[in-house]
């Protein structure tokens, strides 16, 4: 049973995704319960996978019983299992939080839930795949679902989704091109084989080109700073229930794949033509952390502010990973998992503020103080983690990233993290000032009530964020143990 857990995690979402149109023909009211049930089932299975990996080490899986050189290989290792758990739980919580009327007005229910499930199954495949081409296929499954979901808002969302699609396809083409280069140079696409054959070939110009194309391709998809142009519009205009899912899934999983390729395939110490690849990474990360937070500070639109803040938080992961020591890698991975909870929680709250309480502009934020104390409280907890104060997960992630930068003697990176933290604090202060000092709502306006499912789901996010901080010790110990074979 445990041997087949990886495929079950994928099947739990991909089968209902494909069957959704049939189900919708029968009875549309079943779509939401079935989608939610399969998402929670997938979360349960991923937790079981994580426990199995925790106890017995990585699970290799040969699809259809065809072993590696011929068949498609999967490998569930420690970081991957952790990533899938966070993916499943975050998406399930986001979908639970969005009420029964969650799709945008005009968007039909059946394709909406099918796409959400497809997005999750694509992301699961990306995390599990141990083969570069398999990663490409799942990357596109997830991306196509993502483009269509981003467009469900209608109006300005259509053009945002179109830009996302053009840039995403460019990224995918570059990734495919990189696969062609690496295949031509090594004759294999299996990550374990590549890890043996690639390092001696790193002086070859074909490999250099392949690695660069892969970096740019995955960089576009994970919204690293010079390539982030598609993200703010796509997130801002997507409907309330979609943004948390997009924010928690697409960029995080792609970044995770890039980290995996960099450390597990290329090897961390890799120098390409005298330029250290990790140096490029942390410099881009440091720039992204500061620029993203600065851009967020200048916004007056709630969702756009959070979207730009998200770019800054993804970049922080890179600062940790780019230090090239184990503390940094573990800190980066920890921050990545924790950030999925923070981002999704933030967008769930923003969605509720906009659609339930009618907070259209910055000046309406004052309404929340009187009408939604509950929502403001949750926002404060998430902000604590975003800024990086103990005892939340955000604090420990940043702590390890800072430690690794100090360990590497990289004071520029330390400064970038510090500046990004101050800027994050600044935009949250700006936000809370608008909430607590803005004009109150008109007297006698009725207060909308939040459904219980929403409150439960948001509590889930808060428990996740604070819980990650409280158990950070064991999570970090686990990640340290799983990454100990990397010779960092």
């Amino acid at each position: 049973m445990t041997a087949h857990l990886p495929i079950l995690v994928l099947l739990a979402t991909i089968v209902p995704a494909v069957c959704m149109p049939l189900l919708g023909m029968k009875n549309r009211a079943w779509c939401r319960p079935v989608a939610l049930a399969s998402l929670w089932l997938m979360s349960l299975l991923s937790v079981a996978t994580f426990i199995a990996v925790y106890q017995d080490g990585p699970i290799p899986y040969a699809l259809g019983g065809w072993e590696a050189p011929v068949g498609v290989a999967w490998l569930v290792d420690g970081p991957g299992a952790l990533m899938v758990v966070s993916l499943g739980i975050v998406v399930s919580l986001s979908m639970t939080a969005s009420g029964p009327r969650s799709p945008a007005p005009g968007a039909s229910v059946v394709p909406y839930y099918a796409l959400i499930l497809l997005l999750v199954s694509g992301a699961t495949g990306i995390i599990f795949a141990a083969d570069l081409f398999n990663v490409f296929v799942f990357l596109e499954v997830a991306a196509l679902a993502g483009y269509a979901l981003a467009a469900t808002g209608g109006g300005p969302a259509l053009m945002a989704a179109f830009r996302y699609l053009i840039l995403g396809s460019l990224g995918a083409s570059l990734y495919l091109l990189a696969i062609a280069y690496l295949y031509a140079a090594t004759g294999t696409l299996n990550m374990a084989d590549l890890a043996i054959r690639l390092p001696p070939l790193l002086d070859s110009r074909a490999v250099l080109a392949g690695v660069s194309f892969m970096f740019i391709g995955l960089g576009i998809k994970s919204a690293l700073v010079p390539f982030h142009g598609w993200l703010p519009d796509a997130y801002t205009h997507a409907p309330e229930a979609v943004t948390p899912v997009l924010a928690a899934v697409v960029t995080k999983v792609v970044l995770f794949t890039w980290i995996r390729i960099m450390f597990w395939v290329l090897g961390a110490g890799v120098e390409v033509q005298a330029a250290h690849i990790l140096d490029v990474l942390w410099i881009l990360g440091a720039a992204g952390a500061v620029v993203g937070a600065l851009l967020a500070l200048s916004q007056r639109d709630l969702k756009r502010m959070f979207a730009l803040g998200g770019i800054s938080h993804i970049a922080l992961t890179l600062v940790g990973v780019g230090q090239g020591n184990q503390t940094g890698l573990v800190g980066g991975l920890f921050y990545l998992v924790n950030d999925a909870f923070m981002q999704a929680g933030l967008f769930v709250l923003a969605g509720a503020a906009i659609h339930k309480y009618g907070v259209r502009t910055w000046d309406d934020l004052g309404k929340l103080r009187a009408q939604a104390p509950w929502l403001v409280g949750a926002l404060i907890v998430i902000a604590t983690s975003m800024v990086g104060l103990p005892p939340t997960g955000g604090f420990f992630g940043k702590w390890y990233i800072l430690l690794s930068a100090l360990e590497a003697g990289n004071y520029l990176a330390v400064a970038a993290v510090a500046i990004a933290t101050v800027l994050t604090l600044a935009y949250f202060i700006k936000l809370f000032e608008a909430i607590f000092r803005g004009p109150r709502a008109v007297e006698g306006a009725e207060t909308p009530t939040l459904p219980l499912s929403f409150k439960l789901a948001v509590s889930g996010f808060l428990v996740g964020i604070v819980g990650f901080g409280l158990i950070s010790d064991s999570v970090v110990a686990f990640l340290l143990q799983t990454t100990s074979g990397l010779n960092l």
């Binding site: 081409f133 490409f136 296929v137 596109e140 196509l144 483009y147 269509a148 467009a151 209608g154 109006g155 300005p156 259509l158 053009m159 989704a161 179109f162 699609l165 053009i166 396809s169 460019l170 995918a172 083409s173 495919l176 091109l177 696969i179 062609a180 295949y183 031509a184």
Partner: protein, 125 residues
């Protein structure tokens, strides 16, 4: 420079690939018409598929179907089939992408009545 010319003459498929790729990218970036952008994107994607196919080609080799396995297999007689398999999957992915993007274009056109990017951006604000 002579070195580059030599490479170009020896490997004409790389030149074709570069022309297609950059041409597609140029069209995507410069044309305001969103259908033309899609055409550029499709040329760009096709160029990568073209490149994948060309790296499997071999002089004097034939289709990779074993006719007489009993006498041993000589790899020099067959082209590498794997890039073709990858290509097949990549083409399917591209067709799906094109389908989604054309659906988006149709939705935009129905709403705005124009295919010009600037006009669409102005009307959707």
């Amino acid at each position: 420079m002579p070195e580059l010319v030599q490479i170009a003459v020896q490997r004409p498929h790389v030149v074709v690939f570069i022309v297609l790729f950059l041409g597609g990218l140029y069209i995507t970036l410069t044309r305001p018409n969103i259908v033309k952008k899609l055409i550029g994107m499709y040329i760009l994607q096709t160029s990568t598929v073209f490149f994948l196919v060309t790296i499997s080609a071999k002089k004097g080799a034939s289709v990779p179907i074993l006719r007489d396995a009993a006498n041993g297999v000589d790899p020099a007689l067959y082209v590498n089939p794997l890039p073709h398999v990858l290509t097949l999957t990549a083409i399917v992915v591209q067709v799906a992408t094109l389908g989604v993007s054309l659906a988006l274009v149709a939705a935009i056109y129905r709403r705005v009545g124009s295919l010009d990017e600037n006009e669409i951006a102005r009307q959707l604000q």
